[in-house]
């Protein structure tokens, strides 16, 4: 084996090792609220906004609070660092990324999913 190949292999090995650890640190798993409570790690929960319960933006802390119900029907208070996301009202589903803290889900990011709204439905067309 010549020197060049050896250097190459060493570099690739280092790269893969660094990549592996960085990856394990930053992996976010899909979960539900039950699982999130158990792991205490950052995870991603899909669910829907509970419209009946209060939702508000606190200007002092720049946090948006709302209630979310996961796919198993478990309800939890979610505090998002930031304002109410775009398209929040029309979202069919929301995906919150964060972790459980002091009995609520502290989200760093909330994605809104509103596929059906981008394409009209039979109901929409009847209104015309």
């Amino acid at each position: 084996m010549n020197k060049k190949t050896l250097i190459g292999i060493v570099i690739i090995a280092i790269f893969l090792a660094v990549g592996f650890f960085a990856f394990m640190d930053n992996k976010v798993e899909y979960a539900n609220f039950k699982k999130a409570t158990e792991t205490h790690k950052t995870c991603q929960v899909k669910g829907s906004w509970v419209r009946e319960k209060e939702s508000k933006f606190d200007a002092q802390t720049n946090q948006f609070t709302f209630y979310m119900k996961d796919e198993n029907g478990v309800e939890m208070k979610v505090i998002l660092d930031g304002a109410k996301p775009n398209n929040f009202e029309m979202a069919e589903n929301v995906v919150a990324k964060g972790k459980i803290k002091d009995g609520h889900f502290h989200a760093k990011e909330v994605l809104t999913k509103c596929p059906s709204k981008y394409e009209g439905t039979g109901e929409d067309i009847k209104r015309n």
């Binding site: 976010v28 798993e29 899909y30 398209n87 029309m90 929409d124």
Partner: protein, 790 residues
């Protein structure tokens, strides 16, 4: 009619492909058929695009697609851009661009192939390249056949509307897409996707022919074009996100961004190995593999972003395209992927035994370029794995992963770039090389010391800045020398400078940005990030009265300016849309992103309560129960007759339990022509609580919303308050400037390559009658010609 156009276009493209493949066997007249069918297919695809555009512009809302994405109130440029607002249309845009580019590709190939005599027919590139390219076009047309933009509303919604129904107006364009960048970003990005098909076809053709000298020369200008236009498209998207959408940054490592970035990195790597191959004959395999991979990644990106598999992982919204398209995308991808990889494996032996010259020296430019290309591929791999993670396992990857991995790779890329410029092709004298490093390294050391002094204390960031300055200095020096002689030859160095400037811009704007939340009560000056900010109220935007400018006067050291972030309620989104406003202060941006407007409310939320019938809740230390509605004062007739001028009173009966005593209270709301008016009620005159009826829902489950106010607590009379996130983005102009310089560098290289090929072509034309083995000589001559030029 549209469907007919698309069906025939699909068939002609397929026929063109078949004819071209037959012609490759030596039946020369089939080339003419191939060309004819290709042109028919292209004209049909273009006609179909024109027809769809016509339907959109003339508001033919009986088409589901037109109804779904456009409306009468859109200005003309946005109306045109609704063409590609949905899945079907964006596939159509892609097919359209592919068809148009193919016309140029065809004439380019036909002209280049003239130099090849019919006795050397097998060396012609047009048959196979165009055969493959037509196949790609037919695939794209086929997607449109199965997912047609020409569906009528009554075909889409057979249960809801009758045949022949024409909606009055369309649903309109998503407000997030309603801006200038929507008209330019998608077409440019798709042009990049389209262009990467060309190097792919060239590489596959070379593998089929088992001939590896022509493809690279013919394909390089197209590869450069693809790299340029895709890079531009990606950054236009970045500017859109930054300037309009208010995401705060130009890059968020979102799957959609990543999936177009990965092919770009790979195509840039391909350009570098192709240039090395041109000079030294090495890295044939690598160039071929990279060109093939780049287009496969484009297809993979389409699959990722269109199939809905990333639905939970991205801020971009994905629509499930339906089972057929999903399956077809997989077929498309696996056919081209399998074919490409299979061919490389099949030719592995001849690629290996290809007359590669002696092993490259470690200290040579080609070795440096190769290591650089590998580093680029490593970055591509990191991003591709991270982006694909949601389909590999149930989970996503934090943006931090990409930052952490790509930072060292960027340092490597910048340093290798700098070193490679000082190295000669094939072999460099070690002493000479080290000597040439003195000045650039000295300069870099100086700048780095200055950076550390002014506050760059993060080691790895300082390292990246140093590497970027190092490469910038070396490229600047070379570019300056070349530029004075022949402008276009400086292309690569200009492109490198652009990238290094971009790196510096990223360091400044990402690592050293500052962000604070500010609440600005009306007319009250607050201090943030070194600026005095005063909110002066909202004004409706001229010509778009439903949107509001929130006027903020920003002042520093006597110099003031007005920033106007925008917020408005969008009926389409059923929510508040927000756009930032940015002050470009040359060395930095002041970025104001609106968060909310807090208006003084009649009741604070802690005073409000909603109760279902029979429900009891606690508030301010008492129990409140909603017993029933009280309609005794309600005049039903007046309501029915629509006597708006007559006041009407609705009421509810509640039970209040305080200090063990339960009392009945009637709370009422007066309905007047001006709206609802809340009438205060009290348990007794000397009780400090006042009760109000705010809302009642009579239909469905009976419920009321009430307010209980403790009068002894003074009501705050705060004025309306604008809540903003203010941030400083240092040196962000370097990001845009670097991108523009890089694109210009690409453009200069492209121009030079094109001229070279043209001049080579003219030369060949003059030599047409020389000898039968002329083409081989010709290519060798061209090679030496190239070397002379540098």
């Amino acid at each position: 009619m549209g469907n007919l156009l698309l069906n025939i276009a699909f068939a002609s493209a397929l026929l063109a492909s078949i004819c071209y493949f037959i012609s490759n066997g030596g039946k020369e007249k089939f080339i003419r058929y191939g060309r004819m069918f290709y042109h028919i297919a292209a004209v049909l695809v273009i006609s179909s695009a024109a027809y769809l555009l016509y339907l959109i512009i003339t508001h033919q809302f009986q088409l589901t697609y037109v109804w779904n994405y456009s409306s009468r109130d859109l200005p003309w440029n946005l109306l045109i851009s609704t063409f590609y607002a949905g899945q079907e249309g964006s596939f159509h845009l892609w097919a359209f661009l592919t068809a148009v580019l193919g016309v140029f590709l065809l004439s380019y190939l036909a002209n280049r192939d003239i130099e090849i005599k019919s006795s050397n027919y097998k060396e012609k590139y047009e048959p196979l390249v165009m055969g493959l390219y037509s196949l790609i076009l037919s695939f794209l047309a086929f997607i449109l056949v199965i997912k047609s933009p020409y569906l009528m509303v009554w075909e889409s919604f057979p249960n809801d509307v009758a045949v022949g129904f024409v909606p009055e107006d369309g649903r309109g364009l998503n407000p997030l897409l309603q801006n200038f960048w929507m008209t330019i970003h998608p077409p440019v990005l798709f042009s990049g996707f389209t262009a990467l098909a060309v190097p792919f076809c060239f590489a596959i053709t070379a593998l089929i022919k088992n001939e590896y000298s022509r493809w690279m020369k013919l394909g390089l200008p197209w590869t450069l074009f693809g790299g340029m236009i895709l890079g531009l498209g990606i950054m236009l998207g970045g500017y859109w996100a930054y300037g309009v959408l208010g995401w705060g940054g130009y890059w968020g490592w979102d799957p959609v961004e990543n999936s177009s970035f990965v092919p770009w990195i790979v195509v840039v790597a391909a350009i570098h190995t192709m240039v090395s191959e041109e000079r030294t004959g090495k890295f044939k395999k690598t160039s071929l593999i990279l060109c093939i991979t780049a287009y496969l990644l484009v297809l993979y990106s389409t699959f990722l972003t269109r199939s809905g598999v990333l639905g939970d992982a991205s801020v971009h919204s994905f629509v499930d395209p339906g089972q057929e398209v999903y399956l077809f995308l997989i077929v498309f991808l696996s056919l081209f992927g399998g074919g490409g990889i299979g061919l490389v494996l099949f030719r592995l032996k001849s690629l290996r035994t290809a007359p590669s010259e002696q092993q490259s020296q470690l200290l040579s430019r080609e070795s440096a370029l190769f290591v650089g290309a590998i580093t680029l591929c490593a970055a591509a791999l990191v991003i591709a794995v991270g982006t694909s993670w949601p389909i590999i396992a149930k989970g996503t990857v934090e943006p931090e992963f990409y930052n952490r991995m790509n930072l060292p790779l960027a340092i490597l890329i910048a340093s290798i770039n700098g070193f490679s410029m000082l190295l000669k092709w094939r072999y460099s004298e070690e002493k000479q090389f080290l000597k040439s490093l003195y000045i650039p390294l000295g300069f870099t050391a100086l700048i780095t010391i200055v950076l550390v002094i002014i506050g760059v204390r993060d080691f790895i960031i300082a390292l990246l800045a140093a590497a970027a300055f190092f490469a910038l200095f070396i490229n600047l020096e070379i570019a300056y020398r070349i530029f004075t002689k022949d402008k276009v030859k400086a292309g690569p160095y200009i492109a490198h400078m652009g990238l290094m400037i971009l790196f510096l811009g990223i360091i400044g704007s990402a690592r050293y940005s500052e962000e604070v939340n500010v609440s600005l009560p009306l007319n009250e000056t607050k201090h943030a990030l070194g600026y005095n900010m005063t909110y002066k109220g909202a004004t409706p935007i001229k010509g778009d009265e439903e949107k509001f400018h929130f006027n903020v006067i920003v002042e520093k050291e006597g110099r003031g300016f007005l920033l106007q972030p925008v917020m408005y309620y969008s009926e389409y989104s059923e929510g508040v849309m927000k756009n930032p406003d940015i002050a470009n202060l040359v060395v930095k941006d002041l970025y104001l992103s609106p968060m909310a407007l807090e208006t003084p409310q009649d009741f604070s939320s802690s005073d409000m309560l909603s109760l279902k019938k029979g429900e009891e809740k606690e508030i301010h230390g008492m129990k409140v129960k909603f017993v029933n509605f009280d309609m005794s004062k309600f005049d039903r007739e007046a309501m029915q007759e629509g006597k708006d001028n007559k006041d009407n009173i609705m009421g509810a009966e509640i039970e209040v339990t305080m200090d063990g005593k339960t009392q009945k209270v009637i709370i009422e709301q007066k309905i007047t022509s001006a709206g609802a008016e809340n009438i205060p009620s009290k348990i007794s005159d000397n009780d400090k609580h006042t009760f109000y009826l705010l809302n009642m829902s009579v239909s469905g489950e009976s419920a009321v919303e009430i307010a209980v106010v403790n009068d002894s607590i003074p009501k705050s009379d705060a004025p309306e308050t604008l809540v903003l996130t203010a941030s400083i983005k240092p040196f962000i102009n370097l990001v845009w400037g670097g991108t523009i310089i890089m694109v210009l560098g690409f453009f200069a290289s492209l121009l030079r390559r094109y001229r070279l090929i043209k001049s080579g072509h003219r030369k060949a034309e003059r030599n047409t009658d020389s000898s039968s083995g002329h083409s081989k000589n010709g290519s060798r001559k061209k090679k030496s010609h190239l070397q002379e030029q540098d």
